[in-house]
């Protein structure tokens, strides 16, 4: 598609500014139970058009990319912008259209992976569950390979093009024995499907499911707390990601408003947004409004250094964007991290366990996303954990709720930071050990 034509047409129709954002996505997916249930292939083109008329902004996203479809979307965008009330905070779209040099975001084999290619990975994943424990069965899972190409152009420059691949798998394993049930799920995500650790993931799910056959209840009380790295990543993305977005800060919805320069967390806590590291999934050469990306230190030794900005929020404060505009094809850009990393420490997981007198090692939770990033109040329901006594894992437990405040936890309670960095899409973090925390159990 000729993006330049779309930009020109928008100007003809009366736009004072315009940008277009085209995504081409293709995905091969196998869904699994104890076998490969089904397989699907999807190819999708989506176009986002943002126009400004006299400080009024409108966004139209369309998957109808016929000539008529695009013309209809353009006219619709212009007509919305013309009748909408102006945004007094609007200055301009990004004018610094360029990219940071980056490579290794795209794996050709993954972009063209066929269902047959992924079948090999899926079979290895399914077979390895019973290697973890002979009676463990895979009951649900998936293997996927996806490629996304983004084309960006605006009235200020472009076109820019970037492409990335991501491949992932997960498996949920179950053991039924003696009237009891044990479950566990594990996953992995990589740039290339050839790097997926299918065997390790299947083995881990199977062997843990066996251990959780015997999961008991946890009495109500105060416990030392270890969050396994995968739990840390999901809690941080719920609690910290919205709080450091300049938009939430400016609109009065972040507990970090007006606190740059303050010591928010313990001095062991360093958090960086990685915009330009290929190994950090989510890094990219330019953001979703064509601004070059960079690595941004957000918390250094616990001190809040900056929020994350897109052009809109940056110009409101008369500063430069940090290159953190993210959007979908149908929505306006908002500032978000590319890949937020809580920097690892030096302690191994067994050392964290070893220094715990009476505590809980949390392996998996549900509902952590129900926590409140505005008040900082954290709730996460433990589905899989181990009770620790005198430095040893004594028994598996489940069904209790961690209830605390994330700022209290990361400032006053955090004791040791693990070395075991877990990399997910958009976030990475190690395991963390905290002093006594309230856990609501039975």
């Amino acid at each position: 598609m000729d993006l330049e034509k779309v930009v020109k047409r928008a100007i003809e129709l009366g736009a004072s500014e315009v940008d277009v954002y085209l995504t081409k996505t293709s995905e091969t997916l196998l869904t699994l139970s104890n076998v490969i249930d089904a397989s699907k292939y999807t190819k999708l083109f989506s176009l986002g058009i943002r126009v400004v008329v006299n400080k009024s902004v409108a966004v139209v996203g369309t998957q109808d990319l016929s000539h008529e479809g695009i013309e209809k979307s353009l006219k619709s965008a212009i007509s919305i912008a013309k009748v909408s009330s102006p945004d007094p905070n609007w200055v301009s779209m990004n004018k610094r259209i360029m990219e940071t040099k980056m490579s290794n975001l795209f794996d050709k084999d993954t972009a063209y992976a066929t269902p047959e290619d992924l079948k090999q990975v899926a079979m290895e994943l399914l077979d390895s569950v019973s290697e973890g424990y002979r009676n463990a069965k895979p009951v649900r899972g998936a293997v996927t390979a996806r490629s996304v190409e983004i084309n960006y152009m605006s009235c200020y420059g472009g076109p820019l093009t970037r492409a990335e691949t991501v491949s992932g798998l997960y498996i949920y394993a179950r053991v039924d024995e003696g009237g009891k049930t044990g479950t566990f799920s594990e996953h992995d995500i990589q740039r290339s499907y050839k790097k997926l650790r299918a065997r390790d993931v299947g083995y881990e799910a199977g062997s843990r499911a066996r251990e959780f056959l015997e999961a008991g209840e946890l009495p109500n009380g105060m416990y030392e707390l270890i969050l396994l790295n995968r739990v840390t990543t999901s809690i941080l993305s719920v609690m910290i990601t919205p709080a450091i977005s300049a938009l939430n800060v400016q609109q009065g919805r972040s507990p970090l408003s007006g606190r740059v320069g303050e010591e928010i967390f313990s001095q062991h806590v360093n958090i960086i947004d990685l915009g330009t590291s290929p190994e950090a999934l989510g890094s990219k050469p330019f953001d979703d409004e064509g601004h070059p990306t960079k690595d941004t230190v957000v918390f250094e030794r616990g001190v809040l250094k900056t929020y994350l900005y897109d052009t809109y929020t940056a110009l409101r404060e008369g500063r430069e964007s940090t290159g953190n505009a993210l959007r979908t094809f149908s929505s306006a850009p908002v500032p978000q991290p590319h890949h937020l990393r809580l920097m690892p420490g030096k302690a191994r997981l067994d050392e964290l366990i070893g220094e715990t007198r009476e505590g809980v090692l949390v392996m998996d939770t549900i509902g952590e996303w129900l926590s409140n990033p505005v008040s900082g109040h954290l709730n996460a329901t433990i589905t899989h954990a181990y009770l620790i006594r005198e430095g040893e894992l004594v028994k598996p437990v489940k069904g209790a709720v961690i209830t605390s405040n994330i700022y209290e936890l990361l400032k006053h309670r955090v004791e040791t930071i693990g070395e075991d960095l877990r990399i997910e899409y958009g976030i990475s973090a190690p395991s963390l050990k905290f002093g006594k925390v309230r856990i609501a159990g039975t």
Binding site: Y41, K137, L370
Partner: protein, 462 residues
């Protein structure tokens, strides 16, 4: 035109040797007006159009989709579905259903697209201003969501169905600040209707009430942590049922062994006061006259007086479980395969009044759904969790002080067995802003019920 494309794709699938094929085409739009602290932050429109093809080839399922509707691309999509089927392992049949034909339309009086963009913007700025006018409110976001969905399904076993529906709603978030403490409260009201739903309500009053609740909640303490007896309001009952129980009745999870309800049909799994149904079209709920496999969605009685009567199925899980097809094979859109989903899942009313229940509880917690952000379940482990909005303690048989940050957790079966009273009221709701996620697919749902009294739940408090 989308009908012709679907019919051509169906023919291609048959020519290429598929023993069964179903083709879906969809035309979808979503309009979102967001006003943030009295500034129009976003006015966006999304249009989706495309085709999804599912085939059974040599007993294996394959699916492919595209939004490039040229002849070549449609042919390629069908053959990719067949290539995909070759990678699947399982040899399986599909559950038999009566193939139906028909056209379904939800009811509306005023088409939302006939209302000017200007009027929509003005309304939302006014509504947002009302929310922000309450003393102590520092931030206020109001949203108007309008969805239009047209779906067409045609299958090689003779089904040909189409529906058209509108879903419209207003959502509001208020953030209150007092002495360094912040709290947010959000609420939404939506309906399967046209613009008349918007005209028929006082939305300024709606946003003011959200703000007043946020202002009250910011000063409120957390509830005491631990086990307690609770009354849940209809919105909470909807959430609890959907999360704690509904997912476990989904046939694909049952067949794969991921559900705690496997092999329990006919067993008493809940209190005798409990009857639960899943129904495609019901007052207050979302509109699902048929599913994305082309099976009609009627009323399914899942639990009758405590006895587990039925699971929710699509054609694949029905065949695996040897059960009837209940019309619950739903897909987020044309790019996804249908999987088993709830439609409008709710509890039937009983004969208790709310006052009676509060007296009965004496000491406990009254869980309020308004302001809840949802819930989640691990169907295999049998553990669920959900958040409530600002709620009230029950002290000495009366409603007491407000508490915030309420998150409850429990075990699926113990909770349903622990239902001690069921109210005589009934309310079912849906949302134009969210839905239920499963396997990376989001679908709109409805849920609800009467007030109920539950013997005990774990409350994560302070």
């Amino acid at each position: 035109m989308l009908r012709d494309i679907a019919l051509r794709a169906l023919k291609t699938a048959e020519v290429l040797g598929a023993s069964y094929a179903e083709v879906r085409t969809q035309l979808f739009s979503y309009e979102l007006v967001t006003v943030d602290n009295m500034v129009l932050r976003e006015f966006s429109k999304t249009y989706r159009v495309g085709l999804g093809v599912r085939v059974l080839y040599n007993g294996c399922l394959g699916f492919s989709s595209t939004n490039d509707l040229s002849d070549d691309s449609v042919r390629e999509t069908v053959s990719r579905a067949i290539v995909a089927a070759r990678a699947s392992k399982k040899t399986e049949s599909l559950g038999v259903r009566e193939p139906s034909r028909g056209r379904y339309v939800s009811s509306w009086k005023i088409k939302p697209e006939d209302v000017s963009d200007e009027a929509k913007t003005e309304l939302m700025i006014r509504v947002n201003k009302a929310g922000l006018s309450v003393d102590g409110i520092k931030s206020s976001v109001s949203r108007l969501g309008i969805q239009h969905d047209w779906r067409y399904v045609v299958s090689s076993d003779g089904a040909e169905l189409e529906y058209e529906s509108y879903l419209i709603g207003v959502a509001h978030l208020s953030v209150a600040v007092e002495s360094g403490s912040m709290e947010r409260v959000s609420n939404q009201e939506s309906s399967v209707s046209g613009w008349e739903f918007i005209e028929g309500r006082d939305w300024e009053e709606f946003t003011r009430s959200v703000s007043k609740l946020a202002k009250e909640a910011v000063k409120a303490p957390l509830p005491p942590a631990g086990k307690t007896r609770v009354i849940a309001d209809p919105e909470m009952v909807g959430l609890i049922l959907h999360e704690a129980f509904g997912h476990a009745t989904e046939g694909d999870l049952v067949a794969s062994g991921t559900s705690i309800l496997k092999n329990r049909l006919g067993e008493e799994i809940a209190s005798q006061l409990v009857t639960i149904v899943d129904e495609g079209v019901v007052e207050g709920g979302y509109y699902v006259p048929f599913d994305d496999e082309g099976s009609l969605k009627k009323k399914t009685v899942v639990v009758e007086r405590g006895i587990l009567k039925s699971f929710l199925t699509n054609r694949e899980s029905a065949a695996r479980l040897n059960l009837p097809v209940t019309g619950n094979g739903r897909a987020q859109d044309f790019t996804h395969m249908p999987i088993v989903r709830q439609t409008n899942f709710y509890m039937m009313p009983g004969d208790w009044g709310l006052e009676e229940m509060i007296k009965e509880v004496r000491e406990g917690l009254y869980l309020v759904g308004k302001g809840s952000s949802g819930g989640q379940v691990d169907t295999g482990a049998g553990t669920f969790t959900f958040s409530a909005g600002p709620s009230r303690l029950i002290r000495n048989g009366e409603l007491g002080e407000l508490v915030r940050g309420v998150v409850v957790s429990g075990s699926i079966l113990e909770t349903l067995r622990g239902v001690e009273a069921v109210g005589k009221d009934l309310r079912i709701i849906t949302s134009a802003f969210g839905g239920c996620g499963k396997d990376s697919q989001m679908v709109r749902v409805g849920d609800g019920g009467p007030h109920i009294l539950i013997k005990e739940l774990i409350v994560g408090g302070g």
